[in-house]
Amino acid sequence: MNLNGILQIILYFFVILLLIKPIGLYMTRVFNKEKTFFDPILCPIEKLVYKLSGVNSKEEQNWLEYAKSLILFNLIGVVVLYSILRFQNILPFNPTKSDSISPDLAFNIAASFTSNTNWQSYVPEGTISYFTEMLGLTVQNFLSAATGIAMAIAFIRALAREQSNTIGNFWIDLVRSTLWVLLPLSFIFSMIFVFEGIPQNLKPYVHARTIEGKIQILPQGPIASRESIKAIGTNGGGILNANSAHPYENPSPLTNFLQLIAIFLIGAALTNTFGRMVKDERQGWVLFTAMGILFLFGVFASYYFESLGNPLLKDFAKINMEGKEVRFGILGSVLYAIVTTAASCGAVNSMHSSFLPISGMMPLINIMLGEIIIGGVGVGLSGMFLFAIIAVFIAGLMVGRTPEYLGKKIETKEIKMSVLAVLILPLCVHCFSAFACTTPWGVRGPLNMGPHGFSEIIYAFSSASGNNGSAFAGLNANSFFYNLTTGLAMLIGRFLIIVPTLAIAGSLVRKKLVPPSSGTLPTTGLTFVFYLILVIITVGGLVYFPALSLGPIVEHFLMISGKVF
């Protein structure tokens, strides 16, 4: 660790802090249908979309209708994307002559991109045509992100409204998230990325002759535009296999910094949108503070352990640069790894597998906690709501009152659904990993031995179930077994959490608002922040302790005693 690195972390966090309020306010106006700067251009488009799709923009939905629309829409997304992947060889815009994709991989990709995971078990360059790239993957990058935002907004409405039945209209939330939030932000970031030298074209790959006389293939494509939505929508799927470690995706420290900003931007600002919509901004700041503390802990822990270097190599190399880009260094790589896993993005600029055991464990922990530290756009905030509900429930008992969150009584139904939603992730991670550990098809996956190989397996299923999409690297995941299991894990981890979350919203929106008194548990203030963190760690995190002990923790101690894998 050095001062320069620490200052960079602080600078990054400070810029995020500065952006929360303006973006939060903007999104509040968007979803409350108040006037915004973009209205003159976007309102006519919005109207046209509703007219073409037959959506009644005056109608609101109850939670069940909302959930049905959401599921239906995403189901169609899976089917369309699957078809595009299977038939891309006969579809246009295929200068790289990419072939049709095998059914298992096509299923995996379709599940991956609709669930906002962007897990990529394939090498994109040479596999994916430009048509698939733009009309398949990028479209889902926008729509899956918009789905997440819509869900969060619906949940916030449930908390803000009183004795109502409806939580908004999914179609309207979807359209407004896409048009007003994702498109303008993507446009701005794409422009900067192009300016910084990221390619944006539809040309075939360039075959260049190197100085050594060999042929090197330089991939091309609409990289800059994909790069922006990859970060803004916390999608994480790169157009190139090396993802943000590739100079075409992430050429400079500036693009690196901007990508980091873009990944946290909407997730962090949504806490403010939440605060504004429930008419108490402090409520938003409390959630952000809890997120911020967990985030900074992860960054500093990871940075500290990674800076120590590998003790076995201390005579040869002071720092551990394996799997890292020289232009990002230790801090740039560690920070990216923590941000991308905190936010359920999954883009990478270094190989997490090459981190030292403990610093490599921090991204894994971020995913295992349910990616509620900022989290994926929308889903991160709603995941935090679930923990807040459980925290409020236990803390509420501790102060001697039936618990309330923002004046809404937390009762059996909310607890039932929160517990269900919170438990899906650990269940999914454990069961799939155990399955992989005990079947020959699963064991064949990891490239490394011992605990490191185990880390590779558990990281894969955490990443898939948690809809993160980053890979630990070192796992040969493009097999029928892994394509199927991770595909299922992604769908379960996405939609089996969204449905109970919306059910809670449906139950909360009907409730009366109980006016607060000094007997009400305050959900602002540091005591609650720390209690919330305690609940996140004990209820959401402790369960992974045995698995982590068999992976990175034991690897760390083995490394100290001189054994590596």
Binding site: G400, R401, L423, F454, T538, P546
Partner: protein, 686 residues
């Protein structure tokens, strides 16, 4: 005041019964109600089977170790059962002492109200609608309402109040409780509850774990605990598969040990005891509750409606100040006031004598020795006083005394002096009553009579405010008086000139604002409001209608009890929350005990996590399991007594309890497991 039927936690009789019950409760069918403990029982059975397999030489593990783990798992379940049985035992003992009398009584059953002959049947066979006769000396066989007659009734068996109460048909005091005794005269009673449906029976059902309905809040907590149990179940089950990948194998006994220490057994074992103990604490305060939810609702109450008379004030106006007019000595006024009241037996009169004694050290004198004659108050004169041989003293309303002065001075033009008007106005606006005193033809001054607020009420309302509870006074007084009293007592609001329907309306209005209300009542006209309130406490001295509408009954008929009931409700929830936090926080230490031990063979490097420096892998695992069992028993007294509850704001309570039960929950097991480990090795148990 009632004598509280408290009993020590360690009554031998109860412990003996609870020990037997805790074995009976091992029946999986009934244990299924408590899913966490049910899981422990299932794995205890599994471990026992492994032990037998080992014994037969089918599997080869350390025999003594497996035996000990199996034994401690059974102990864990039994401790959980024991906790519930102890709480039940205490509650039952409480209720039984109330029920005792009822079982032994014979009822004189009449065919109808005019029947002259009665048939003697056991009190337990009475049905709703039966008419029974109760005469001098007999015990009333069932809850009911007097349909004919008047009688003096001794309720001390139920309430502990020694003074007998006059009850009569058609009045507000027409209901009688089983177990009370008729002291004089006779009454005919219409029984109002079927066997097993009386308040007492309800109460007994509430403290019996097996029949007890879980409250919504308890159900929610249960779901959380079940959820955590499931996820830990999966997490431990998958360890074996992860271990296989690592090329090793974990004995099932050790996996089971990890599972049992991780799932929330502490709170799982104590949950039902906490609920029962809450109801039990109410009974100790002589309050019967109709349901467990009512007790929890009491903890949630935002607003208390309190009747002024009897709750906030003593109900009688009392002397509070002697204000002499100029030229009159204060002592002179006090002396005259006392003399005029010596034979005045009205509460006001007595209070004047008492006030003169307390403040001016004026001893009581005997009027006959002074040769004085007492002039009592009449509706015509509207004043009272004394006549001495050569002087007269009078006290009364301003008008009456003015008339008296005019008469004495033979001057009809006398006006009320400016000074007096001011004093009287001051007293009136403060809600008090002025009583003017005159001697012969001279005005002496004014006695300030006022509704005296009971001692300590102001502080209690202050406590309630800290807890976020608003207090509203209900009174028939005019707004002026009401405001003065509510200000003096430190209440938040008042409802003056209140009629019963105003009360109901106030409750509805507050409820639409999302608030929960509690109130007490005794009259039939209180019934609708009692039913509407979230917590309605009927006075045991009240009418049957009031009792039926309420969800709690106070046997002491003490309206301030409401405040204690709120405290008990809060304490119940706090205890539940605190022990849940403690239980979950315990897991950290248990991981550090078991994980390094578990993988000792494959990865001895994980010994670095053995921060407690436990001696051997087996002693570490055994110690964690033993700690996990013992902590249930150690926390049982806390579960039964309830966490100490001080009226503070929610934020302060959270901070305090988080420090004690959150931090404590993390630290305590580290110490506990270490100590047990030392003992286990000292005794060579592994």
């Amino acid at each position: 005041m009632a004598t509280k039927k408290r009993q020590s936690i360690l009554s031998l009789e109860i412990i003996k019964q609870a020990t037997i019950d805790s074995l009976i409760k091992l029946n999986p069918v009934t244990l299924f109600r408590n899913p966490v403990m049910f899981v422990v029982e299932v794995v205890a059975i599994l471990t026992t089977i492994f032990f037998i397999l080992n014994l037969c030489g089918i599997t080869k593990e350390n025999l003594f170790f497996v035996f000990q783990i199996a034994a401690w798992l059974w102990v864990t379940v039994i401790f959980g059962n024991f906790s519930e049985a102890m709480a039940e035992g205490r509650g039952k003992a409480q209720a039984n002492s109330l029920r005792q009398t009822k079982l032994e009584t014979k009822a004189k059953l009449l065919k109808d109200i005019n029947d002259k002959e009665y048939k003697l049947i056991p009190g337990t066979e009475l049905k709703k609608g039966d008419i029974v006769l109760a005469e001098t000396g007999s015990v009333i066989p069932g809850d009911g309402e007097i349909v004919e007659g008047v009688a003096l009734i001794d309720e001390s068996a139920i309430t502990g109040e020694s003074a007998a109460v006059l009850k009569q048909s058609g009045s507000d005091k027409s209901s009688v409780i089983a177990g009370t005794k008729v002291i004089s005269d006779w009454i005919k009673i219409k029984i109002t509850s079927n066997p097993g449906e009386s308040f007492l029976d309800q109460m007994i059902a509430l403290v019996e774990g097996a029949k007890r309905q879980k409250t919504p809040n308890e159900i929610a907590l249960c779901i959380l605990l079940v959820g955590m149990t499931i996820v830990f179940l999966i997490a431990t089950a998958t360890i074996e598969m992860f271990a296989l990948y690592a090329g090793t194998h974990i004995p099932v006994t050790i996996l089971i040990a990890l599972l049992v220490t991780l799932i929330p057994t502490t709170i799982g074992g104590l949950l039902s005891a906490i609920g029962i103990a809450g109801i039990d604490r109410l009974v100790q305060h002589n309050v019967l509750a109709m349901s467990g939810s009512a007790v929890e609702a009491a903890g949630d109450v935002d607003t208390l409606l309190l009747d002024k008379t009897g709750t906030i004030t003593f109900g009688n106006r009392m002397a509070d100040e002697f204000i002499p007019l100029s030229g009159v000595n204060e002592l002179e006024l006090a002396d005259a006031a006392q003399l005029s009241s010596l034979s005045d037996e009205t509460p006001e009169g007595r209070s004047i004598v008492k006030f003169a004694k307390d403040k001016y050290q004026l001893r009581e004198r005997n009027l006959s020795q002074l040769n004085a004659e007492f002039i009592p108050f009449t509706a015509q004169t509207r004043m009272s006083g004394v006549n001495f041989e050569n002087s007269e003293i009078r006290k009364g309303s301003t008008d009456a005394i003015l008339d008296y002065i005019k008469r004495k001075n033979n001057d009809k033009s006398i006006q009320v002096p400016q000074e007096l008007t001011q004093v009287i106005e001051r007293i009136s606006t403060s809600g008090g009553t002025p009583l003017v005193v005159a001697r012969n033809d001279k005005l002496l001054g004014v006695i300030h009579l006022k509704d005296i607020v009971k001692g300590g009420m102001r502080e209690r309302f202050e406590e309630l405010r800290k807890m976020g509870i608003r207090t509203i006074m209900i009174t028939g007084d005019n707004p002026l008086t009401a405001r003065a009293i509510s200000k003096e007592a430190g209440l938040d609001d008042f409802l003056a000139e209140a009629k019963p329907q105003d009360k109901l309306e106030l409750i509805r209005k507050e409820q639409t604002k999302g608030k929960l209300l509690a109130m007490t009542g005794d009259g039939t006209n209180d019934a609708p409001a009692l039913a509407q309130a979230d917590v309605g406490v009927a006075m045991s001295s009240g009418t049957q209608a009031a009792k039926e509408a309420a969800n709690m009954i106070d046997l002491d008929s003490n309206p301030t009890k409401l405040i204690e009931i709120v405290g008990i409700g809060k304490q119940l929830l706090i205890t539940r929350g605190a022990l849940t936090t403690f239980s979950i926080a315990n897991d950290v230490a248990k991981y550090f005990a078991i994980i390094p031990a578990m993988f000792y063979i494959t990865y001895p490097e994980l010994g670095a996590l053995n921060v407690m420096k436990l001696a051997t892998p087996h002693s570490a695992i055994l110690s964690a399991v033993i700690f996990n069992a013992l902590i249930i028993l150690l926390l049982l007294p806390l579960a039964l007594k309830g966490v100490v509850f001080k009226p503070l704001g929610a934020a302060a309570i959270l901070r305090k309890n988080l420090l004690i039960y959150g931090l404590g929950g993390i630290v305590v097991p580290f110490i506990g497991i270490k100590v047990i480990d030392i003992l286990v090795n000292f005794l060579h148990l592994v």
